[in-house]
């Protein structure tokens, strides 16, 4: 309330009226004139260097923004966005999800269990998943999240969980992260609220990125967040864009939103711990998923997917409509684990979730009768079916085949199918029709029995378990079980059959063909069905030219060169019609063979069948071969196959013998393959020239004003002629004209386009950078990817490119541990992570690792560590090492404190560059910060090269000059021989080399050193010893733990933990213990100087041999003198007098000294004056002498030498 009162009306700028005009005028005056023009000096280049720097900076920033362009592989209809709501407990996660769901769908959810998928808009679906406080869950969900809503209790501040989750995200690719502050209503003081918000925001920004969105949920109203705020949050979510993450875009994955146990209840009853078969459902994300691939379920393990199907979307996007909002019907909500949506569809079943009491009633009423009937029917029907089946397969090779038999057979297989599909969407109509007829012919019982076997049994037999007291039923059941055991076709086999049937459907192209075939010639359908590999079109042709073909097919065997792959096909055909082929086969062998070959080549859709076979048919035939009603085995000689299997392995394609390259027509048939041949219309030189003509033909000579016409003349003529024929119907004429105009217009447009293309080609090229080219290339590839399989229907498309992301898929996994089903907890995410081609194998991984700076301890080599790498979480034993300057990997005992180091582990092969994180334990939340280390995979190998240092120590036992004999380092001569030439060193640093082994003490050797050794020296040899990485790979099976204990997984303990738990304390090495330091008395030997040396030494340095004098004896000591008082007085007086005298003398001396100084000064002055005087006199003298000299010289130059 306070806030509302204080709020004042904001200033509103006028947009019209005199005031606004005035302002506009004022602004217009200043802005109209360009700043640049008004003040050119301000924009002039002041400094070229500064200019260059700014330019560089701008370019740097621009280039930094570039990402490597990736091909956009997002599907047209993307899967729902995974929104993971994370936060410590009691922060309001479930409430937020509930509010968001209510905001989008107007539905209330109770318990949020498992993923909840909703339609949020016309183009977007959302899947909400709540992440509990277990670190396993956090790790798993961080790998699949597209958007993370990170809830933070503002009244408390950040908690460790938040930072842990952020770190997990950083390692596994960074999804979009949005912070949401809750509990803001607990702040009473507005200022502290603002301050807290700011602090939290800045901390959040440093962790995520500057400017990351942080959302504030101010308070609760009736236990929910405020509608407007939730709505705003919803808007943010529904417009958010996501960056593709490397791991996610390169691996298919499914966040499972539904799980069904398909295990045979009988097996579960007999062995409750048996491995289960489950089907898991969810939207496929990431990339294409291949059928029968390998998946990893984090928390469970690796599994082979036994089957994948796609189902109709349970939560589809609305159809494209031009309206703004979704209507109520389209606001769908799908959360099977939370019990929303009573009806769920499977590929061949519908599950209806009924309230508990309802089910009970039904069970009690219906149970006994149905069971009795079922069991009776079951045995009968299967026998019947098997009899029928056996008949068929026995005679399948013969010509006299009854089409009805075939139909029966096929019908029998399809039986369960039709029965079970309730939903018309999942079923194909055509099959259904055949099927109903079948049903009428045969007894309706077979179908129901099969059905029971397949699926409905699941639910029913579970209930059976409750009623064990019913004797009759149990007896019957046992009997049936026994019978089933004796027969080879156990229920699982039947299930497989159903799957195969589905594959028939999947192979839709073939189906279509077949249907056409059937409509054309119904009589042949039986045969078509029979020949295992033979394709329908072949059959058709055989009809046309029966006799010839018969021969050909038998001939085919002889023409093996045609293609060994054809052998299968031809062989089966020849078997089938072998009777007819008599001796005619010798006629025109080659020609026929070639014809047959050509026929195969030409059969367009059959090529696919030839290569891959029809998946179903192949399987069927195999089954036929193998067993007959579960009783007999049919052994068929497979000569052709055997022959093929051991043929010469050669890639060369032997040429077709029918082509005779001496014939002219044969030569002509390839003439256009050469540049000298005829070109296509579009590339022909003549047409290209003509095009140019068209383009450039029309021009006006500007000088003369003459207009040159190109090719349009003809058309003008045509137009004119039409105008002449004006008398015709006007309407028609106008139509023609319109047509003509259109043609003209098109032509003009065409021309324009071409011109533009040329222009673009000329001018745009210079501007395009490498980056642009790359981007364009990627764009093209993306378009091609989209377009290539667009018009193929889903069933076929799935075979080519795998299951697309965005599809709702059902994955069947057999042999999953029973604990997965028994301890299933929907609060924990089940993820199916697809694995790449060799990611299922294990090997050595070399990684770069750094201890997390917030983790308090350093990590020890050979201590088990739990790693999250790829999809997996597993415990392993790492060895830490560091690379020396010479590339050697040296073992480290502990990880460095603040530095990267290498780590080698035994683990699953994961592509290089994948990030990982390590935790010491996933159980509980005792540790302060749980993430121990992070890093990246560098290298994969099948061996490791980590070494540790090993110092071998030896002792010299004989020393020559620089050569020593050393013992104790080795034990045998052989060992020494291996180390010959190795360098050794002493502790004092003298280097040496091993030379040769010595014979007598075994293991001793001769070595040379750079200096003489001492006997006390210790010699050592530095060597490197390879260490092996322990092969421990222990997947964290947290999902298999009982409900409520899933966060208590404990693997192998570290040595320290073990000792702690068992109370073992190591006895330390006594040498390592600390003791008080005791220093012994030092004792020095006397210095010994040789006599000769002593003699020559000067006396000063000679050792003084004389004994010291010792004490003077008493009698030699002089007594001390003690004075009389008078004497003392006299002495004092004398002392005083002498002091006075001394003083006087000193004073006189000083005076004398001063006087003398003065005298010296005066004397100096006089001396100076005297010197000066002398100098001047000398100067005068020299001048005179100089003058005289000059005179003399002058005179000597002038006249004759008078003096000489």
């Amino acid at each position: 309330m306070d806030g509302k009162v204080k709020e004042q009306k904001r200033h509103q700028a006028k947009h019209s009226g005199p005031k606004a005009q005035k302002k506009l005028k004022k602004q217009g005056g200043s802005t109209e004139e360009d700043e640049c023009k008004r003040n050119p000096k301000a924009f002039a280049v002041q400094s070229a260097v500064r200019m260059a720097k700014t330019f560089h900076r701008a370019q740097d920033i621009k280039t930094k923004k570039h990402h490597i362009p990736l091909v956009d592989r997002t599907p047209l209809e993307p899967p729902p966005v995974v929104i993971v709501v994370v936060g410590p407990p009691k922060v309001g996660k479930s409430t937020l999800i509930r509010c968001l769901i209510k905001n989008f769908t107007r539905q209330k959810m109770g318990d949020i269990c498992g993923p909840v998928t909703i339609v949020s808009g016309k183009k977007r679906r959302l899947t909400f998943m709540e992440c509990n406080n277990d670190i396993n869950t956090m790790i798993d969900l961080a790998k699949v999240a597209d958007l993370v809503l990170m809830l933070i209790d503002a009244s408390f501040g950040f908690e460790m969980e938040t930072f842990e989750f952020l770190n997990i995200c950083q390692v596994h690719g960074f999804p979009r992260i949005m912070g949401v502050l809750t509990h803001l209503d607990s702040f009473k003081n507005n200022k502290t609220l603002r301050k807290t918000k700011k602090n939290l925001k800045h901390r959040f920004w440093t962790e995520v990125y500057q400017g990351a969105k942080l959302f504030y949920l101010s308070g609760m109203v009736y236990g929910e967040y405020q509608t407007q705020e939730v709505k705003n949050l919803g808007r943010f979510i529904s417009v958010m864009k996501f960056r593709p993450l490397v791991w996610q875009t390169s691996h298919p994955y499914v966040l499972v939103d539904r799980m069904e146990d398909l295990t045979d209840p009988e097996r579960v009853r007999t062995d409750p711990k048996c491995d289960r078969t489950v089907s898991l459902y969810g939207y496929l994300r990431g990339t294409h998923l291949k059928n029968k691939g390998q998946v990893h379920v984090p928390g469970v393990g690796d599994f082979q997917v036994s089957d994948v199907n796609f189902l109709p979307d349970p939560c589809p996007l609305p159809d494209a409509q031009k309206k703004r909002a979704l209507n109520e019907k389209e606001r769908l909500l799908y959360a099977p684990m939370a019990g929303v949506g009573g009806v769920v569809y499977d590929k061949d079943a519908v599950y209806i979730d009924l309230p508990a009491n309802h089910v009970n009633q039904q069970q009690e009423e219906v149970r006994p009768t149905t069971e009795l009937v079922q069991s009776l029917i079951d045995t009968h029907a299967t026998l019947d079916a098997k009899m029928a089946a056996s008949k068929v397969s026995l005679f399948s090779g013969s010509v006299t085949l009854d089409p009805t038999d075939i139909e029966q057979q096929s019908g029998e297989k399809e039986g369960p199918h039709e029965k079970q599909v309730w939903d018309p969407n999942t079923q194909r109509e055509r099959r259904a029709v055949v099927f109903t007829e079948e049903e009428e012919e045969e007894d309706a019982v077979t179908g129901s029995s099969d059905e029971e076997d397949d699926n409905s049994e699941d639910s029913e037999q579970e209930k059976e378990a409750d009623e064990e007291d019913d004797n009759l039923s149990t007896f019957l059941k046992d009997a049936r079980a026994r019978s089933e055991r004796t027969e080879k076709t156990a229920p699982p086999v039947k299930r497989q059959r159903v799957e195969e049937e589905m594959l028939v459907f999947a192979d839709s192209e073939d189906d279509l063909e077949m249907s056409e075939e059937e409509s054309e010639e119904k009589g042949q359908s039986g045969r078509a069905g029979d020949s295992g590999h033979c394709s329908e079109e072949d059959e058709e042709e055989t009809e046309d030219e029966e006799e010839e073909d018969d021969d050909q097919e038998s001939d085919d065997e002889s023409v093996e060169e045609e293609g060994a792959a054809l052998m299968e096909q031809t062989a089966s055909e020849s078997e089938e019609e072998g009777e007819k082929g008599t001796l005619k086969w010798k006629e025109g062998l080659q020609q026929k063979a070639s014809e047959a070959f050509l026929r195969h080549q030409e059969a367009a859709p059959n090529l696919r069948k030839l290569v891959y076979g029809s998946v179903v048919e192949a399987d069927d035939s195999e089954e036929d071969k193998e067993e007959l009603g579960g009783l007999f085995r049919v052994s068929r000689p497979q000569k052709s196959k055997k022959f093929k299997a051991n043929a010469v392995d050669c890639s060369r394609f032997i040429p077709d013998t029918s082509h005779n390259w001496d014939l002219e027509e044969m030569l002509n048939s390839i003439r256009d393959c050469f540049v000298t041949g005829k070109w296509e219309e579009s590339q022909d030189a003549a047409t290209l020239l003509k095009e140019d003509e068209e383009l450039y033909g029309d021009f006006e000579d500007l000088e003369t004003g003459e207009v040159h016409k190109g090719q349009t003349g003809l058309q003008d003529q045509a137009e004119n002629s039409e105008k002449d024929d004006d008398n015709d119907d006007e309407a028609e004429e106008s139509l023609v004209k319109v047509d003509d105009e259109e043609v003209q217009k098109n032509k003009r447009l065409d021309k324009k386009r071409r011109l533009k293309e040329r222009f673009d080609a000329e001018y745009d090229d210079g501007d395009a950078t490498y980056f642009d080219d790359l981007k364009e290339e990627m764009q093209k590839q993306a378009e091609l990817n989209r377009a290539e399989f667009e018009d193929v229907d889903d069933e076929t498309r799935v075979q080519y490119e795998g299951f697309r992301p965005g599809m709702y898929v059902r994955l069947e996994i057999s042999s999953i541990p029973c604990e997965f089903v028994i301890n299933f907890d929907p609060h924990y995410p089940v993820i199916l992570g697809g694995l790449g081609s060799s990611e299922g194998n294990i090997g050595y991984l070399q990684m770069r690792l750094k201890k997390h700076r917030w983790y308090e301890r350093i990590l020890k080599t050979r201590d088990p560590l739990i790693l999250s790498l790829g999809w997996r979480r597993f415990q392993t034993i790492p060895l830490y090492h560091i690379e020396d300057h010479n590339g050697r990997h040296r073992l480290l005992k502990y990880t460095p404190q603040h530095m990267h180091c290498g780590a080698s582990i035994w683990g699953p092969i994961t592509p290089q560059g994948t990030g990982f994180l390590a935790v010491q334990s996933v159980a509980g939340t005792k540790a302060n910060f749980r993430i121990a280390a992070t890093g990246v995979v560098l290298d994969l190998d099948k061996s490791v090269t980590v070494v540790k240092k090993l110092k071998l120590i030896g002792y010299p036992y004989k020393i020559f000059k620089n050569t020593c004999f050393i013992k104790g380092m080795f034990n045998t001569v052989l060992e020494v021989a291996k180390f010959e030439g190795a360098s050794v060193r002493t502790v004092s640093g003298v280097r040496g080399q091993i030379k040769k082994a010595l014979s007598t003490p075994p293991g001793a050797y001769r070595a040379t050193f750079e200096d003489r050794l001492l006997m006390s020296d210790i010699v050592f040899l530095r060597s490197w010893y390879p260490v092996s990485v322990p092969q421990l790979y222990n997947p964290v099976t947290s999902l298999l733990l009982p409900v409520g204990q899933k966060d208590n997984w404990a693997g192998m303990r570290t040595m320290g933990q073990l000792k702690h738990d068992l109370g073992i304390r190591n006895k330390p090495n006594a040498d390592s213990l600390y003791k008080p330091i005791v220093r012994g008395q030092r004792h020095f030997n006397p210095l010994h100087i040789p006599k000769e040396l002593q003699k020559s030494l000067p006396f000063k340095s000679k050792p003084k041999q004389q004994q010291s004098k010792g004490k003077t004896p008493r009698d030699l000591q002089r007594p001390s003198v003690i004075r009389e008082p008078h004497e003392r007085k006299v002495a004092a007086l004398l002392h005083a007098l002498s002091t006075v005298h001394n003083y006087k003398r000193k004073k006189a001396h000083m005076v004398q000294h001063a006087k003398h100084k003065e005298f010296l000064q005066q004397k100096g002055k006089q001396e100076e004056a005297k010197l000066k005087r002398q100098k001047e006199a000398r100067k005068k003298l020299y001048r005179v002498m100089g003058q005289m000299d000059r005179k003399k010289l002058r005179s000597s130059l002038k006249g004759a030498p008078q003096e000489d």
């Binding site: 030409e602 290569v611 390839i670 540049v675 000298t676 399989f789 080519y800 290089q912 990246v936």
Partner: protein
């Protein structure tokens, strides 16, 4: 771990299976290897191939039973490096090299393989053929650059051998998706006529006769004669011809023929050999496509191992070897190709039907390469 292996019967397509197994990491078991034969089990050349595979990989496990009829192979990681191998002389080096070409780009360190043995024989694609066709195909997929070459150091004809080939290939992280749909017209024909330990005139005679056939189509024909002497000529006499047709778009179609090995079958005249080889080339051109028939499987493999994008390649009719290769690709990588037959138009004279193969790559990346 749960990756279960694949089981096959018979020794045919032996290389395919082992190569694909190595690339996909799936273990493979081959049973009934010539089990009904008088001389059962693996032959020497197959054993030699396994040995070569063992040399280029690290950590492979190979188990062969006593009679050699059952082989179990658990692939290791491709290591590469410098490899020397004495190939068995029952098959030519081409037999080994074909497999090595498929593996070479995915090694840990770049491969430098020195193979010794028979360089040319009539059974397998010869080294010259692979050099002139397989390498350009691989270059289209982004393999190449420095040190991608195949060098014939010494030539050794069929029974005696004594040839030597050096193959170097750099390491590649990912394959580029390709769209090779338009082969273009043939602009030139090149070739090598080689002869060892026979008269050098033989080569000239081959060239003469081959040109006689091909000149009807194209004037731009040049066939080198390659006569190796002394130490480089191997241990057996023989001669042969390799012809390569290059199209405007840079694709290569080739054909080859070698003389029958000494002491096996009838000797051939060089003239006949030249003429027949030229006809083989015409046959190859008739088949057409962007990749010639002996390299189909290589191209398809590289497409499969590409990024998760659509790749297309136009081929001639699929050879039986390729068909089996496609099946194996489906087994090992779960990849199916979309196969469309393209029929020539009425008035076109461009040989037989073509097959357009389309697939989406598995998104394979070289897991052996070390990250620095």
């Amino acid at each position: 771990m749960a990756s279960q292996g694949l089981v096959y019967d018979g020794c045919n397509f032996f290389r395919q299976r082992l190569v694909l197994s190595t690339l996909s990491g799936k273990r493979v078991k081959i049973k009934n290897i010539r089990s009904k034969d008088d001389d059962p089990g693996l032959r020497d050349f197959e054993a030699s191939f396994i040995r070569l595979l063992d040399k280029v990989t690290n950590g492979s496990r190979i188990e062969i039973n006593q009679t050699g009829t059952v082989l179990f192979y658990q692939p290791g990681l491709l290591y590469g490096g410098s490899v020397e191998h004495d190939c068995n002389q029952q098959r030519s080096i081409g037999y080994y090299l074909e497999a090595l070409l498929m593996l070479a780009p995915f090694m840990k360190t770049s491969l430098k393989a020195t193979l010794r043995g028979v360089t040319n024989d009539p059974v397998d694609p010869t080294v010259d053929l692979l050099k002139s066709t397989a390498l350009p195909v691989m270059k289209k997929f982004g393999i190449g650059g420095d040190g991608f070459e195949l060098k014939v150091v010494k030539r050794g004809m069929a029974p005696g051998g004594g040839g030597e080939v050096v193959f170097t290939c750099p390491v590649c992280r990912t394959m580029r998706p390709v769209q090779l749909t338009d082969p273009g017209k043939i602009k030139r024909i090149r070739g090598v006529a080689y002869s060892v330990r026979v008269s050098p005139q033989m080569a000239n005679r081959i060239v003469e006769s081959a040109r006689g056939v091909l000149n009807q189509f194209l004037p731009d024909i040049y066939i080198h004669t390659d006569h190796m002497k002394g130490a480089n000529s191997g241990k057996s006499p023989g001669f042969g011809l390799t012809l390569v047709a290059e199209t405007l778009n840079g694709f290569f179609l080739s054909a080859e023929m070698s003389s029958t090995p000494q002491g096996q079958g009838n000797p051939v005249l060089p003239e006949d050999l030249g003429r027949n080889c030229a006809k083989l080339l015409l046959e190859e051109i008739h088949r057409g496509g962007c990749v010639d028939s002996s390299n189909q499987s290589l191209a398809l493999l590289l497409m499969t191992l590409g990024q998760q994008d659509v790749s297309k390649v136009l081929l001639g009719p699929l050879s039986p070897y390729t068909i089996e290769f496609l099946r194996h690709i489906r087994d090992f990588f779960q990849i199916m190709f979309k196969i469309e037959v393209q029929k020539p138009f009425e008035d076109e004279r461009k040989g037989g039907d073509k097959v357009l193969m389309t697939c989406v790559g598995v998104g394979y990346s070289n897991i052996n390469k070390t990250l620095k």
